[in-house]
Symmetry: D2
Subunit: 342 residues, 4 copies
């Protein structure tokens, strides 16, 4: 296989953060592994030199049509982050049958776990009671639970029902909830196959005591959850935001929490780090999580594992199955800025 | 059925907190329902007057042998709290075939949910990160997760494996953990039937990243988890205490948390309310829950439902199945003080 | 422990069928193990000789009050079959706090598996199509499935909801059925706690496409499922009988199958062996199972394991948990003849 | 939408078998629905007439490049059977971004159910005991179970781990088996994500008491399970064949069953109908199923539902999700003859 090249440009990550020795050995078994740690240093000259033999590109370098045309044997482009960047000519790549992948599935498991923890926290008042203890204002027993509720047999909603939503569903199963999910890209029967009910956005908002916002940002849905949406939720309902801050009107969300109408947990913010004097830092009905839901060491290790497993399949002429595969219909909608979940 | 009497002494609860109209109607269908709200006001004279016809006593009045002998038709005594008090002559009652019940099963579900929330909180640093946000000391992403871990595929331990432990197990199932349980009253095959491994106390402590303490206090196990136990846990391990404060050396537990060796979440305290200047209020590795895990409205409603369902069975000459049945071998060991979970 | 005696009378089984070397070693660790293989040979004289020191009796010897009175230290009587025979003075034993146990739980798992297999067989026409193949009358594909149905999302009923019924429920869970259960001894909330709906007998019969009959025979329910019951089932419905033949009018059941109104699978028969010319042997809508659902080697091994585990608990002064505990209210109703499931 | 055409050629099925009124109404809402029941009657002239406006073709008409080039707006080709036929120029279609789909997922559920029923049948001797009853040679209880085994905690194998295999796994979950799966197209981590272990073909054969053969036929695996494979299975092991007869050496399989080395259940045969004098019809260790595992009415209805749901998504510019999507890497390997599962 010495004539095949695997080009690895891990930036903004480090090779050692995502690939262990075994992963690298497996990549080397696929061909000539060329690692370029500094993406900015990858010149056209260097690219053009490698292009004739390159079979798989791991990383998120610019790949306009001109570059792709120089790589006649290219079979796959694997982004080691959880998004599809606008620096690739997807239409041309797909017409060539080049697979474009990202590693977003690795984040579903840790984010789902954190989302469940945040949901129980809001419903049962866990961090709030702890805070009251530290302020010597705690109450006990029934008095502490005046507005607590359970996840058991609860009405739970999902806004978005992609990998992340579907990773939360099994964690909720032992609570026997009724789950309504709004996802305009998915048929009702598909949602039903997970034991959930397809519903309109209004139905989810109005009928759910706990709502998980797990929709990615697309060119179509920025800020689509605003003051009206929050107002339509039941008094005391919980909102857990773990996908992208861009899908909500963040200030309106904080207003709804501040007024006591809803409780909010969020792992994402319009600006990170959050400004020191940001009002969110003082909310009693707010649980703040510093973009830590997905960024677990184990998720990084899974980036390497999934990347290598799919690279091996592709090298054998088989379809990838461990990474997220860019779909021709939708890839152009995910024009997220180059900031990954971790 | 007019000659049968059901004596209801709800103290320290209120009738309306635990029985709804339907529950009361069902009790009345079983006989003459006599409600005495003030337990202290139940004189021997009143008791003796009712005793000849009493079939079921709901409440926790004193029932020495002398009183029981006056109640030849008594079939059941149902405590509306989660314990068995020492004010009943259990040996005599059992020799008569009188069922003695309590409603502890109602607390298993809400406590299990809270325990899961607390476990995720400690493992993933949820309330701590929220607290840092409020102190403007939060870190983001991977930096926030330096010592975080997941429940997925984790080594999890149980100390005690009664109703409460067994209610936590299904909530953990989606995480595919390895669960070790120590319970000296239960055979290994019984624990195995729940997909868990019977283990010694040392094994549970040493091999579990997350340990749930769900043992009740008995005459034999007060303070049995002390400094040595906590020291034997892995560095960074989490301990979630949701049964009774009496089973741990509370100061040693706080020492172990303060030193950074372990993380602790506790719903119970040696003294409640906790003194205003108690050191626990300031711990960074401690999650404090003001005895709120079980005291949910729904649990109170279930007290009534379970009490009535078993009263109906007993009145029909059938064995009770919804409440906890006092066992002749062990009832004497549960000499807890008259303070219930809620 | 040399002064304590464990009396083991395994008849009608053999010691080696139910206890392995480890089991026997554990029994010997509890005291002086006396094995009397021939139950008939256990004379009053021998019994009286052992009685003063006997702590646990394993087997089903006659134990009238006169014998029990000679055994002041007796703590438990464990029947190594799945029933409670009428040769024990239960009232007296229970007034003494003597535990009376049987090993019926060991049969729940194998019988549930067989019951599921029989249900799929009837619904999908498995053995019938195989029979047609052997008669050269098979049809293919859709033509073979004209009256087939699935367990998925099906209406399924239980008549009886004891250990066996509750062992079938988890096997059905992946099919997402709606389960209705009729059991006059159980509260609706208890049945609901297994995700099933309590229903009347009529509701179960009329609304279930597949009905499992898992009720034991009691003094009250012999032959309670007759011609009217079968007629009330939907056309083409399946009945799976795996508990006792005595609960049905067997001839009426065969009539209903012969007419084509229902399909029947049965593991039990009024007379075993079934007479050579019995009409059941020729039915096209009948699946015949020669009392083989529970009699698996593994079940026999579990008899020993469960017996020993509970003997150990009882010897330590703890309540038994692995065997079926006779309940004072109901034990007298189970006056089954001394023929066990295996 | 009147300028868009949906061309429906249901052959070899009938429109009414797979689409109900609601399905057809939904198709009509997508454009001008043209139904041509007789595939043979679809002339080039008719095709060419429709081609300029056709957006979705439902059916399996010949689609060489010449025809595809005449259909510039074609977005999807949906086969209403469970395979990809060689009458489409896949490479060209894919370079155009045309989705090629089939409805194989509809068969996974009914086939999985039947496969489970057949596995329990072989393990527990259900149809065999029924046959013995009809021959008056049945034995009872333990005697009937001399070579029976359970699925509980069993070693179970899969040869192939596609849609069908993955539909069987959840049905087995309540039995807590150890599952090994051989699928050369799938990474070990993918198989592990379903709680199963990736294994070599030899490991699966040698270590499984029950093996499900669920591999499709490709150009690479015809007859790959032969005499050596069957000989390597444990004595008494069960083989359940529910995908395609072409993957086994059928005669060698029957030999292995006839010798008593293994038990075999098969839903597929090299020739259907099976010749009247075929030896398979007489085997005592064989369970014969006349290609009935998948051909359920409900599966046919799901063909329509899934087809319409994906047609709707595609019409909206979204990726399909309910049908099987042809993958560029593998579609050419599935050169099955035009005989569908039903």
């Amino acid at each position: 296989m010495s004539d095949k090249t695997i080009l690895l440009v891990p930036s903004p990550r480090q090779v050692a953060d995502i690939f262990d020795a075994d992963d690298l050995a497996r990549l080397k078994a696929l061909g000539n592994l060329v690692i370029q740690n500094d993406a900015a240093a990858l010149t056209d000259a260097q690219f053009n030199d490698l292009a004739p033999n390159v079979e798989i590109i791991i990383g998120q370098i610019d790949l306009p049509r001109a570059r792709l045309e120089r790589a006649p044997h290219l079979r796959a482009i694997i982004n080691v982050e959880g998004n599809f960047l606008p620096n690739i000519d997807y239409d041309y790549a797909m017409s060539r049958g080049i697979r474009v992948l990202n590693v977003s599935p690795v984040f579903a498991e840790p984010v789902a776990e954190a989302a469940l923890g945040m949901a129980i926290d809001l419903a049962r008042g866990i961090s709030r009671s702890d805070r009251y203890f530290r302020n010597n204002t705690e109450k006990y027993g029934l008095d502490a639970n005046r507005d607590a509720y359970s996840l058991h047999r609860q009405n739970i909603g999902f806004i978005g029902f992609g990998d992340l939503g579907r990773a939360i569903v099994p964690l909720l199963a032992p609570f026997n909830p009724t789950i309504r999910a709004f996802d305009p890209w998915l048929p009702a029967d598909y949602i039903a196959s997970f034991g959930c009910q397809a519903a309109s956005l209004d139905e989810v908002l109005q009928q759910s005591q706990i709502t998980f916002v797990v929709a990615g940002v697309t060119s179509q849905n920025q800020g689509f959850l605003g003051a009206d949406a929050f107002a339509s939720m039941p008094k005391g309902a919980s909102l857990i935001l773990v996908s992208r801050a861009g899908v909500v009107d963040f200030e309106a969300m904080l207003d709804a929490a501040e007024s006591g109408h809803i409780r909010v947990a969020t792992d994402v913010f319009p600006q990170e780090p959050v400004p020191a004097d940001h009002r969110a830092r003082r909310g009693d009905n707010v649980l703040l999580s510093p973009h830590q839901a997905g960024a677990m060491d184990e998720a990084l290790r899974q980036i390497g594992k999934r990347t290598v497993a799919d690279a091996e399949l592709i090298a054998r002429g088989l379809p990838p199955i461990m990474c997220k595969v860019a779909q021709p219909e939708t890839v152009a909608m995910f024009r997220s800025k180059p900031v990954s979940k971790s």
